[in-house]
Symmetry: C2
Subunit: 96 residues, 2 copies
DNA sequence: ATAAACAAGTTTATGAAATAAACTAAAATA
DNA sequence: TATTTTAGTTTATTTCATAAACTTGTTTAT
């Protein structure tokens, strides 16, 4: 039977966030917003969910005087992501 | 920027259905139910949506005396599926 | 100095969608 | 012939993604 897909990752925006974070040391809110094209509200909510699951960590600081939220993927997140990718492969590799 | 994912395919059950149908000539309701582990209700609803989008076709007949609903992927569905797979690749191939 | 516009978010509300529960109709079985 | 099972459909519920509205502070223009 086909494997279950991690519902936390099976969301377009959360997957995009994770996909980006998997490839960089860290990324701040504004960068993620630009890359994903998401609205601030949506991005904020999804970052919270990924944080709650410990898939990413968030550090709040300032860049100059402006608030700056920096996100980083965790090992847990990295593992979940790679698991998700493996599971997906089974769906999309159509053995036709 | 990351490509948009076809919302019709970005659903675990619908993706599973399409994944299965992509690999076989046709499959009936019961078979799909067994393979996916979905409830009848959920399966029925998702089949309707894929049918409405012309991603699959449904033929209702009988196997012996029992009703039998047979599903088959369409060319449109095949194209959408392969597009979706390509889009996904961009998300999951972490260029780290 | 103050008002207006902008930046970086958060919180709350809304609409859509996935899932579950309840139901139907017919067939098989006890 | 009554009960259970099969093969679904329809309706209801809950969850979730997204959008809209709001907050806090900063820069810019007057």
């Amino acid at each position: 039977m086909l494997p279950k897909l991690d519902p936390l990752l099976h969301s377009e925006l959360r997957l995009a966030i994770m996909s980006i974070l998997a490839g960089v040391e860290s990324a701040d809110f504004t960068f993620l917003k630009g890359q994903t094209g998401a609205t601030s509200g949506n991005l904020s909510v999804q970052i919270d969910k990924l944080t709650a699951a410990n898939y990413i960590t968030v550090e709040k600081g300032f860049k100059g005087k402006m608030p700056c939220t920096t996100c980083k993927i965790t090992q847990t997140g990295r593992d979940a992501f790679s698991q998700y990718v493996s599971a997906l492969q089974e769906y999309i590799q159509t053995n036709k």
